[in-house]
């Protein structure tokens, strides 16, 4: 209920125009991956989804940030039902080990009915440019090949609540959901990630 109220508040604040270039519900589990510019991003995507499937959609978020204090922990666990992962090399394990552990965690978090919201850039962009994607999306796609990978473009969020500001400006935003993509047979990791990044960027160009 708190989550619905927050989604409503964010919709009022950012008045998002929502555009679907694929079916809003396909029945399949999905990973919505988007460009990242603001703390509001996942709530904006979440509020743009049909209410019937919102409950089954979990954002993937940085454990370090969301377990920082009791309020954030409560929000992450019980309101947004987030999948919390360690970002970067927080643990002593090698980056490869850490990435593997994070992928396993996210896969487990999906179970057999949840969808995910993921920001493959790993961090918020300052300019609105979409930077290179981290590998997680590729590993997840390999670990769960039946899951639909839906590119999402968020427009204007870096101006509504830029990194470092705490008060959002009530400007208009836009969410575009694109056609799902999948890893092609024999496609290299780098090529796939670049194609996924291009899919997100192009949705923004066409808007």
């Amino acid at each position: 209920m708190i989550a619905t109220a927050m989604a409503g508040a964010v919709r009022l604040l950012t008045g998002p125009g929502v555009e679907w270039r694929c079916a809003p519900c396909s029945g399949a589990q999905r990973i919505y991956f988007a460009n990242h510019a603001s703390h509001l991003d996942f709530v904006v995507i979440w509020s743009a989804l049909p209410p019937s499937i919102r409950r089954l959609v979990r954002p993937v978020a940085d454990r370090h940030y969301w377990e920082h204090n009791a309020l954030r922990r409560e929000l992450a666990r019980h309101v947004f039902n987030a999948v919390l992962v360690d970002r970067g090399c927080a643990s002593s394990a090698s980056p490869r080990e850490a990435a593997r552990a994070a992928t396993a965690r996210i896969c487990a978090g999906m179970g057999d009915r949840h969808s995910l919201i993921l920001f493959p850039e790993g961090t918020r962009s300052l300019t609105g440019e979409v930077s290179a994607f981290k590998s997680g999306l590729y590993f997840l796609a390999q670990c769960r090949p039946e899951v639909e990978l839906v590119p999402v473009h968020l427009w204007n969020l870096q101006r509504i609540l830029p990194k470092g500001e705490w008060l959002p400006l009530p400007m208009l935003s836009r969410v575009v959901f694109g056609e799902p993509l999948a890893v092609r047979r024999g496609e290299e990791k780098g090529a796939f990630l670049e194609r996924a990044r291009a899919a997100v960027t192009e949705l923004g160009d066409a808007a």
Partner: protein, 316 residues
């Protein structure tokens, strides 16, 4: 405002109702009679606009009947929606974030609170003097000098057009006109009705007999025929409403004509801004019309002039 006590306002709202019924029937009949695809598309847009007019007229009528506080809240909301569209469209930078947050969350509410309190002195200088200085200063302290002049102008003009000018509409309620006490809601109706009717009639005349484009580089739809036809008809309609105002018929005609000309100027200026930014509409809020700013562009520029003329000549 007690509706029973103000039968004139009731009659004005009734006139608006009848006009919309006539427009709806005419739109429906024309939509059926026309055969060419382009004409049908035009009528489809016109009918969408008429349906949106019903909603806008209902909201406007209800707040007018509801009293001053509701009118002030309504135009405060209109300002908010307009400013949001304006700021979304103009290329502000990171350094403008906090000045803009103040514009939305402090300046806008304070301006309407001043209207509510009837504090004319501060109402008329808050944005042009104090806010223009403070927000520019804040942006300067922010240290980002890239395109500084342009950005300061965007913030200031956004506030002037969307908040200061729009707040002049409910500010009509604070004028004290001898012999017209408690009836100012009708002035508000007069302004909004004439300016929007002038818009509609300029469109209708332009679509039907428009030949000579007025400013083709800004708006291909604006023609001399549309402007003159719309102005003459809107002036006639304004004159016909003189009985509900403190004006004589001649004065009502002069004011209605001024409102029409200012409205035209507003439409042209706001179109020029859109061309500059490369957009067709400010938003998609009102079906068939575009955004809030697309609908109120003419009102923005007619309101302050009508307010100050009325104040100068009639108020004490």
């Amino acid at each position: 405002m007690n509706l029973q006590a103000d039968r004139s306002l009731l009659m004005l709202l009734g006139t608006l109702f009848v006009l919309l019924v006539v427009a709806s029937i005419a739109g429906w009949a024309l939509g059926r009679a026309l055969t060419s695809d382009s004409a049908r598309a035009t009528m489809k847009n016109v009918n969408a606009r008429i349906r949106a007019w019903w909603v806008m007229a209902a909201v406007f009528g209800a707040t007018l009947a509801g009293g001053a506080t509701w009118s002030i809240l309504l135009f405060g909301l209109v300002s908010f929606l307009a400013l949001r569209e304006f700021v979304t469209m103009v290329p502000t930078r990171r350094g403008d974030h906090r000045p803009l947050a103040w514009a939305f969350f402090v300046v806008l509410p304070v301006q309407y609170a001043l209207v509510w309190a009837g504090w004319y002195g501060l109402f008329s200088i808050l944005i042009p003097v104090y806010v223009s200085i403070l927000l520019a200063l804040w942006a300067a302290i922010g240290g980002d000098t890239q395109r500084f002049l342009e950005r300061a102008a965007m913030t200031q003009w956004g506030l002037t057009i969307c908040v200061y000018f729009v707040s002049c509409v409910p500010a009509l309620l604070m004028l004290r006109i001898p012999g017209f006490e408690g009836q100012n809601a009708r002035l508000l109706f007069f302004l909004v009705f004439v300016v929007q009717l002038s818009d509609v009639l300029q469109y209708v005349w332009g679509k039907s007999i428009g030949r000579r484009p007025l400013a083709p580089s800004i708006s291909p739809n604006k023609t001399w025929e549309g402007l003159i036809g719309g102005l003459v008809c809107a002036t006639a309609a304004g004159t016909a409403l003189w009985w509900a105002t403190p004006f004589t018929p001649l004065q009502a005609a002069a004011l209605a004509c001024t409102i029409g000309v200012m409205g035209f100027a507003g439409g042209l200026i706001m179109s020029a801004i859109k061309r500059d930014r490369g957009v067709k509409d400010y938003g998609t809020l009102i079906p068939g019309h575009g955004g809030m700013l697309d609908r109120i562009d003419s009102l923005c520029f007619a309101a302050p002039v009508f307010f100050h003329l009325t104040r100068y000549f009639y108020a004490t």
